[in-house]
């Protein structure tokens, strides 16, 4: 008798733990419970582990779960390095691999596999979302503050491409080191460029620090500040006083509609925090997987993948979401703006949706894809 | 080759405006025991440090066996055969006595960098090491760990190790300092014994030792040479008596 075992390995203690972490595990467990706790007549099991942002731990955990615990699906978490390494293991072992936390578009591009589903956001979507929407709104000249490593470069490149394609202009960029504590000097350089938009091609603490310093130096008065990768947890910890007006793209927001609010409140009851878009995606993806298993009545990865790829996803997270041949789940994204403190009416009332971005407009196109499975 | 094994010309060392050694021209005769004495702070240790290049001279030159060694590195000078001992005893405390001596002998094998070779290859040195230990009367303690040794024995071991380098010139800085009377006598004898076929330059405050074994004495004062000559001549030099030995004859013998 086949048993569904989900292995979830993510960063539970370090840099990215607020984005997904334990909250992700909670969301997955909620999905399992809502599904009835059983699949194929057997209780569904959830294994979790902290990969401490080390690829070798993530990969060996996944490998071990598959070999010794019979994991049927691996849920990979934040941090692109670990995600790519784990995806490889899942491919080798022929197991379904779903990822929400990692941003790297490589997962469904040059490193795509038949078993990978990249469910939530990715860097291309963020870039196209924020970049495209802002140019449409008339913000034509850009200056980037870019984290000096592959991730930052990718964000900057993707966004620049969109900005230029839409007739905007990139006036320059300055590269800052990872975990730079002080951004003032970079910001002065940005300011003297006289661009309309300051694009923050960085993440986490770097984004927070740059937004904070932009406020301090009054740069937000002359430039529109756009974060390219911002999570609800970042906004929460910084406070609206520091981030009010920050534009960015997200794959989901708890206050976007009734169904989302319902999920948000249910999650809040458990965790005393509102879910991030990644945690919401964790719930939705688990549901999608379990429904597929129930439908094909087996955990066989090929069959499950086939079913998932042909069945549209409709829930509080995605409307008519489609998993493409390259593994990318295509769904609507949202350009949002952080509210000013005065606009916020209740706890966690942080964002207003500026624009809905149809999935086709934000994710990689077939023409750009380097994935061999989608040719 | 000149009769002098070591010659310095106008050797000078200045420390930030203070001249510790100034214009010292020293000639050390081959196969002699040469003592360097002088009041505290005269610059004796500094002189040693210059000769072995533990300090860089401000000016002047050092010739060893007729060759200018003023620009050479400490280890290089050691390899030429100029070996020093320290004012504080210098042994390898957690090695056994025989290993201590072998460290000195080992360099000659040319395998010091051979990390792939077994240490058994060092056994060929054991005979020579034992011989050296016997020379200083430590043969029975060969396999003891050095830390446990009394002070005087450590000095003896140090001399054995120094000998293992086959030094042409040994520089001894206060070899009897901090020793009991028996040890002093023992080390004095030892120095005399090993001086055969070698040259020894030593700093010593113990006039008894100096008077018994030194062939020639240089007296330093305030960094300059005050007098030079055999013991009897130097010790009766009024300037030396004034500056170093003190006035009464009793005390002359009596510093130790």
């Amino acid at each position: 008798q086949e048993k569904v075992v989900i292995g979830f390995v993510t960063d539970m203690s370090s840099l990215y733990s607020d984005v997904e972490g334990k909250g992700g595990a909670t969301a997955i467990q909620m999905a399992i419970d809502d599904f009835g706790g059983k699949a194929l007549g057997q209780p569904i099991e959830l294994l979790t582990a902290d990969h401490q942002n080390k690829a070798d731990i993530a990969a060996s955990k996944a490998r071990e779960w598959i070999d010794t615990q019979g994991a049927t699906m691996i849920f990979g978490g934040t941090n692109s390095g670990t995600a790519l390494a784990t995806a490889k293991v899942a491919q080798e072992k022929k197991r379904v691999y779903i990822n929400n936390g990692a941003g790297s578009s490589a997962l469904t591009n040059e490193a795509c596999t038949p078993y990978t589903v990249h469910y939530g956001y990715d860097t291309v979507a963020l870039a196209k979302g924020t970049g495209g929407a802002l140019v449409d709104e008339g913000y034509k000249t850009w200056f980037f503050l870019t984290a000096d490593y592959a991730f930052g470069h990718a964000l900057e490149k993707d966004t620049s491409a969109v900005v230029e394609a839409k007739g905007g202009k990139v006036l320059g960029a300055v590269r800052h080191p990872l975990n730079a504590s002080d951004f003032s000097s970079f910001l002065l350089q940005a300011q003297s460029s006289k661009a309309q938009v300051l694009g923050l091609a960085n993440a986490g603490g770097d984004t927070i620090n740059s937004v904070k310093a932009a406020k301090e130096f009054g740069i937000d008065k002359t430039m529109k500040v756009a974060g390219l990768l911002v999570f609800l947890s970042d906004i929460h910890s910084l406070g609206l006083k520091n981030v009010g007006g920050l534009l960015h793209t997200t794959s989901w927001y708890w206050d976007k509609d009734d169904a989302s609010r319902k999920f948000g409140e249910k999650y809040f009851a458990k965790m005393k925090r509102m879910p991030t878009d990644v945690q919401a995606a964790d719930y939705s993806a688990t549901m999608t997987y379990l429904k597929a298993v129930a439908a094909v009545k087996t955990t066989d990865a090929d069959k499950v993948m086939e079913y998932m790829k042909k069945t549209p996803i409709n829930d509080f997270y995605a409307k008519n979401g489609i998993i493409r041949p390259d593994g990318r789940m295509v769904h609507e994204m949202y350009l949002v703006e952080a509210k000013q403190p005065s606009e916020s009416k209740k706890p966690w009332d942080y964002l207003k949706i500026v624009k809905k971005l149809p999935g086709d407009s934000v994710f990689t196109t077939k023409a750009d894809s380097k994935c061999a499975l989608w040719k | 080759m000149s009769d002098f094994i070591l010659e310095t010309r106008n050797l000078t060392k200045e420390f930030k405006g203070f001249t510790a050694v100034s214009d010292v021209s020293l000639n050390v005769q081959r196969h002699s025991i040469h003592a360097l004495i002088g009041p505290n702070g005269a610059g004796k240790t500094t002189c040693f440090n210059l000769l072995t290049k533990f300090l860089e001279p401000t000016s002047g030159s050092i010739r060893f066996n007729g060759r200018d060694i003023t620009r050479e590195q400490p280890a290089q000078i050691a390899r030429r055969g100029v070996i020093r001992s320290f004012q504080i005893s210098a042994v390898f405390p957690h090695l056994t006595l025989i290993e201590n001596v072998r460290i000195g002998l080992q360099r000659r094998l040319g395998t010091a960098f051979h990390f792939w070779r077994s240490e058994r290859s060092l056994r060929q040195l054991d005979d020579r090491a034992m011989q050296l230990l016997t020379e200083v009367g430590l043969e029975d303690l060969a396999d003891e760990v050095t830390v446990n040794l009394p002070y005087g024995r450590k000095r003896a071991l140090e001399i054995a190790t120094t000998l293992s380098m086959e030094p042409e010139l040994m520089l001894l800085d206060e070899p009897t300092q901090g020793m009991g009377h028996e040890d002093v006598d023992r080390v004095t004898d030892l120095i005399r014994k090993v001086s055969v076929g070698r040259t020894i330059l030593m700093v010593e405050h113990n006039m008894k030792v100096v008077s018994t074994i030194a062939d020639r004495i240089t007296v330093l004062q305030r960094g300059t040479v005050l007098a030079e000559g055999p013991y009897d001549e130097v010790s009766t030099n009024p300037e030396v008596m004034e500056a170093y030995m003190g006035s009464t004859d009793a005390q002359l013998q009596g510093a130790h």
Partner: protein, 294 residues
């Protein structure tokens, strides 16, 4: 007027900003130097103590509404008391050992402290607002300088100079320096060295916490904030040479400025420039700029 394509006002403003960062380096490397001096311990936990200063300030504001100015005094005191505990309970046992154990003990301590704070506060960083008195900024003509940043420079340089004065010019300082070399003998002269050691560590910890409080409104307050700082500060210390108190202050400030300029001329290298300087300094002066040989 332009230099290498950057206007003079631009340069001036970068110089000022560099000084701000340099101030943090200066206080932290000063604390390290003081602790290293008397305890002969490289205090890896310095970064964690720095972080504690900031987080405690944040906690006081959020749980008790205690404002910044009070915390500027209270946080260093609290962390200083914590330092007393560390010294009395842990460090005390390892003085006789090789210095490597001090480094490892404080490294372990760092992991522990950071772990605890992390499990409570997560890592995304906590916001702390600039105190009202110092919000806003001054237009200096060539730049807009937030008042708070100016305050950071003034406050940290004053603290550094006061420390320098005490250590180099007073009797207490002489005890400290002598105690550094031979604590037992200084004790035999009638000085209560164990208490002096404890207080020194506490003082170093308090300095780190002071820097932490200063940094709270500028940087994000996060359990990991010390980790990124500490290694750079180690490099600062190597460059300065820990030979003198003034040396560590000047080196800290100087490197802050150099790092600032690097951010303008070649930002890619701004995270490595301190290490590159370290290499160059070591080639020319193995003992560091202000260090004494041997």
């Amino acid at each position: 007027m332009e230099f290498f394509g950057i206007s003079l006002p631009g340069l001036l403003s970068q110089l000022l900003l560099g000084l701000v960062n340099g101030s943090f380096y200066a206080i932290l490397s000063l604390g390290l130097a003081v602790i290293f001096g008397l305890l002969n311990v490289i205090n890896f936990a310095h970064g964690a103590l720095f972080m504690m200063g900031a987080v405690i300030t944040w906690m006081a504001m959020n749980y008790f509404g205690i404002n910044y100015w009070v915390m500027l005094v209270v946080a260093p005191l609290v962390v200083g008391v914590f330092g007393v505990l560390i010294e009395r309970l842990l460090l005390r046992w390892i003085y006789k050992l090789d210095h490597l154990y001090g480094l490892l003990l404080t490294l372990g301590l760092t992991l522990l402290i950071e772990g605890v704070f992390r499990s409570v506060y997560g890592v995304s960083g906590l916001g702390y607002d600039t105190p009202d008195l110092l919000s806003g900024g001054t237009n200096l003509g060539f730049m807009f300088l937030p008042n708070y940043r100016a305050w950071v420079v003034v406050a940290s340089i004053s603290v550094c100079l006061a420390t320098w004065f005490v250590i180099e010019k007073t009797k207490l300082g002489a005890y400290l320096r002598a105690g550094t070399e031979n604590p037992r003998l200084v004790e035999a002269f009638g000085v209560n060295v164990p208490v002096m050691v404890t207080l020194t560590y506490a003082f170093g910890a308090a300095l780190a916490a002071f820097a932490g409080v200063l940094s709270a409104p500028v940087y994000q307050v996060s359990p990991l904030m010390g980790q990124n700082m500490i290694i750079v500060v180690f490099a600062v210390v190597v460059i300065g040479g820990m030979g003198s108190i003034m040396g560590s202050i000047l080196t800290g400030l100087g490197l802050g400025v150099i790092e600032g300029f690097t951010k303008v001329f070649y930002p890619e290298a701004s995270s490595t420039v301190v290490f590159v300087i370290m290499v160059i300094v070591l080639l020319i002066r193995p003992a560091g700029l202000f260090g004494k040989e041997n």
